[in-house]
């Protein structure tokens, strides 16, 4: 097991190097010039000399191989460089947004787990009953409804509802305060996007839990347990649930990684200053250094989450052994 973990950790390096090369090359294929966007993007007159000076100062006039060499050198010494747009360290730019994205991802994941696992288990245990139909309807609605749309509905609902019942409209705060500085402000801002994304996320996980549970509940060892006279509650919670969690863990792991950088539209709806918004800004501004760093961050999170899922697999199912 430990050998496997070390081996998997070593395999992360070539994956990350491959991703770094790929993202560098792909970004250079995308049309756009940060200097043109910066000085003339809103239609203002763009002085060609100013544009040229900007390109020189950012190293964009250097041949591609020189830019690539500089980038890879930085990659190996963990120097991600400075944002071409703001001139600030990329680590600072990402750091400002990381806490918010991490918190939303954790809250959405917790929301999802709290909803999905009990509902999936109940739905499977009560297969083809009214309870099962209601749970399936709930999860299908969650899959069908984009979280940003649910977010818009939530905001409008809050605005209209509070106006109607309290006499003045209220909506969640639109500026971020750390949970350590102002917990009430923080929670009242982030609970809504966490619920909106957590619901969609839970819908997928509920269906996965239900089908995995159904599969496990049909296994021979469950029949044996029943034949031995064990009560249904013990069979489901103690014998079936742990094994049924294998595919659910995969879904949770991948969705968590996705949430760290993928909440682009939801962040816009709730005005969250997260990594998704930064990602979109960096791409539309052709800010190569920032985009490269963000892609590498998301790749690292994905690779790491896959690694964690694999380790959890082994823990959940002792039959799984890795050579």
């Amino acid at each position: 097991m430990y050998g496997y973990i070390v081996k998997r950790l070593l395999m992360l390096l070539p994956t990350l190097i491959g991703a770094a090369i790929l993202v560098f090359l792909l970004l250079r294929l995308v049309p756009g010039d940060i200097c043109l966007i910066k000085f003339g993007g809103e239609g203002a007159y763009a002085d060609p000399e100013q544009i040229r000076q900007c390109q020189v100062s950012l190293g964009l006039e250097n041949p591609i191989y020189v830019q690539f060499w500089d980038y890879m050198k930085g990659f190996f010494v963990l120097d991600l460089g400075t944002s071409m747009w703001t001139g600030k360290d990329v680590t600072y730019e990402i750091g400002v947004r990381f806490e918010l994205s991490l918190q939303v991802a954790i809250m959405a994941t917790l929301t999802s787990i709290v909803i999905a696992i009990p509902l999936g288990v109940i739905s499977a245990a009560k297969q083809n009953t009214m309870v099962d139909y209601v749970v399936r309807g709930f999860s299908i609605a969650g899959i069908a409804m984009p979280s940003f749309w649910l977010g818009i509905l939530m905001i409008l609902g809050l605005l209209i509802g509070t106006q109607e019942f309290m006499g003045r409209p209220w909506m969640p705060p639109i500026s971020f305060k750390s949970i350590f500085d102002d917990p009430a402000h923080n929670i009242s801002q982030l609970i809504w996007p966490a619920l909106a994304t957590g619901y969609r996320y839970s819908a997928v996980a509920t269906r996965m839990t239900r089908s995995a549970m159904l599969e496990v509940l049909g296994e021979d060892y469950i029949r044996t347990a029943r034949a031995k006279g064990l009560i249904e509650k013990v069979i489901v919670n103690k014998h079936a649930l742990k094994n049924a969690m294998l595919p659910v863990v995969t879904i949770i792991g991948i969705e968590f990684a996705f949430l760290m950088g993928g909440l682009v539209v939801t962040e816009q709806v709730f005005n969250l200053n997260g990594l998704g918004k930064l990602f979109v800004e960096s791409v539309t501004q052709s800010d190569y250094t920032l985009t490269q760093a963000l892609v590498m961050l998301v790749v690292t999170i994905f690779v790491f989450m896959n690694f964690v899922v694999d380790v959890l697999y082994a823990w959940l199912d002792p039959r799984i052994r890795y050579s």
Partner: protein
């Protein structure tokens, strides 16, 4: 229903109080209150803090309150395009001497930068030297506006003298541009000319507290501000909110007080419907205009008859009436901002192609011209910018207008970056929408947009006559003569050559919470952003938001 009872009760209470104490004097009603914070929402990003190289309201709105200018648009009368007042200078804005070629500014002795350094004439000189005569390798976005300046000197600590090469009607408006933040000479000398891109040391009404990228900028009251008694606010927070619906809902939900760029008519109506008297709406003509730019190097736009026909087809009056209900455009005008003394009158405009009141006659003439040019069944593609307000709305309207003279048009919409790449580099378009959007109303400078060969003119044509008239205009100090030259210039652009043509001027709509007082709308979203004249009616705010 609850709201109805509430407003009825409030009205009854107000009437009762008024009956007992008599009508309040206007002075009492509008006496500014001190304290509280303004929360504004901003829909664009901050590229850097250096206004000398930036052009976006995304930087002006959060950063301008930290800085002073030499002169500025009168904050109490910002809708006037010609009313300038001193900011750090003393008394009135100086008149030109020496035949219109010398401006002498006396600098106030009580102005300090936020780090405690007194602001002197040397700081003003260093600032304008950076803008007008930047050293090799240093960018200055408004250098062209100061071409007429021969020298800037500071004969003593509190006098600055600008010497011009010739009398110029563009000089004072150029000095009053909101981008001309005054920097400390010692900062420029010690830290270099790029230091202000990442650092702030101004002498404005507010001191910089923090900027969290992508989130907000925070400022607190400058207790040493040179305009005594101001600012009224304890501070402000400029919240970054790129999505318009978020900015709108933020005002509705009490998370923000105001947005300075402007909302479309529908958003205004929604806010007013939802909040009633909790919303105040200020509206103004806007110093921005959408321009149709044909590419003269591409057939059939090389034919003046085709260009003129396309302009004749546009019902500008009708557009003003109906389009203004859904888009941020309204005012019919020529090449000069309609509110300025140098702008064409209605009678003058009606003499130009496409401005005559008889739309059917205009369109009949358009059809005749197309037939004469051999393009009765013309098909064109309008290149447009992928921004809803007002580009795509106006683009769709134009296509419909052209349909009425038998022209089949479709739209080629591109995001901003490739849109400008097409205009500036590839030039592979037949006809495109473009815009001219300025801060200070400065007609002589602004009409350079229509000058052949200008860096921001994408029509790809040459005309010696226009260049000659523009040079004459720059050298002319007399306003009546300037006006006459501009009329000739305008007729040449819009009628004789139809080299480019105007659609409608923009219309600015600023709904804000009614407890925000003191701020007056300007004909530009870059102007009147010092925030020093804004105050909050705190009782009204409490009534609306509680707390």
């Amino acid at each position: 229903m609850k709201m109805l009872w509430r407003s009825a009760a409030t009205t009854a209470l107000a009437l009762g109080v008024a009956a007992i104490f008599g009508p309040a004097s206007p002075a009492t009603a509008e006496t500014p209150q001190y304290g509280d914070e303004l929360r504004l929402v901003v829909g664009s990003k901050i590229p850097s803090y250096d206004a000398h190289i930036e052009s976006t309201f995304g930087m002006i709105h959060p950063i301008r309150p930290f800085y002073s200018l030499l002169i500025r648009v009168n904050p109490d009368n910002p809708s006037s395009p010609t009313d300038f007042v001193c900011d750090v200078c003393e008394g009135d804005v100086p008149k030109a001497t020496d035949g219109g070629t010398k401006y002498t500014f006396k600098i106030r002795k009580d102005v300090k930068f936020h780090d405690g350094t007194p602001l002197t004439a040397h700081d003003v000189k260093a600032t304008f030297d950076k803008i007008a005569f930047p050293p090799e390798g240093i960018a200055s976005n408004r250098q062209a506006y100061f071409k007429t300046v021969e020298s800037i000197s500071a004969p003593d600590d509190y006098t600055v003298v600008f010497k011009l090469k010739n009398p110029s009607g563009t000089f004072l408006p150029s000095v009053a541009m909101p981008y001309n933040f005054l920097y400390a000479k010692k900062d420029l000398d010690a830290h270099g000319y790029t230091w202000h891109q990442k650092n702030i040391n101004g002498s404005g009404a507010f001191r910089f507290v923090e900027h969290v990228p992508g989130s907000h900028v925070k400022g607190v009251k400058n207790e040493n501000y040179h305009h005594k008694g101001m600012p009224y606010l304890d501070g402000f927070t400029a919240i970054s909110a790129p999505k318009m619906s978020v900015r709108l809902q933020a005002i509705r939900g009490g998370q923000a007080d105001i947005e300075f760029r402007g909302f479309p008519p529908k958003a205004r109506d929604d806010l007013v419907k939802a909040l009633g008297d909790a919303i105040t709406v200020q509206e103004s003509d806007w110093n921005c205009v959408l321009i149709v730019t044909p590419n003269h190097k591409v057939k059939p736009m090389d034919d003046v008859r085709v260009r003129k026909a396309l302009s004749l087809a546009i019902d500008r009056e009708g557009g003003s009436k109906y389009l203004s209900r859904i888009a941020i455009v309204k005012t019919v005008g020529g090449v000069v901002f309609p509110g300025h003394p140098l702008a064409a009158t209605e009678a003058e405009l009606s003499q130009l192609a496409g401005y005559g009141k008889d739309v059917e006659a205009n369109r009949a003439e358009a059809k005749r011209l197309l037939k004469e040019a051999g393009h009765e069944n013309l098909k064109i593609t309008l290149h447009n910018r992928g921004v809803d307000q007002p580009y795509k709305v106006v683009g769709t309207w134009l296509i419909d207008q052209w349909k009425k003279i038998g022209v089949q048009a479709d739209q080629w919409v591109q995001p901003t970056t490739p849109f400008y790449a097409t205009l500036r580099k590839q030039k592979d378009f037949t006809i495109s929408l473009d815009f001219n959007c300025q801060s200070i109303v400065n007609p002589i400078a602004d009409i350079s947009k229509f000058l052949p060969g200008a860096g921001n003119n994408y029509a790809e044509f040459q005309d010696e006559q226009l260049l000659k008239w523009y040079d004459e205009l720059l050298a002319e100090g007399d306003e009546a003569k300037q006006r006459a030259i501009i009329r000739k210039y305008e007729k040449r652009v819009l009628d004789e050559l139809a080299s480019q043509f105007i659609t409608l001027w923009w219309y600015k709509i600023n709904p804000h919470r009614s407890y925000v007082k003191g701020w007056k709308i300007a004909p530009s979203h870059y102007l009147n952003q010092a925030l020093d004249n804004i105050w909050i009616d705190q009782a009204e705010k409490k009534r609306q938001l509680g707390g």
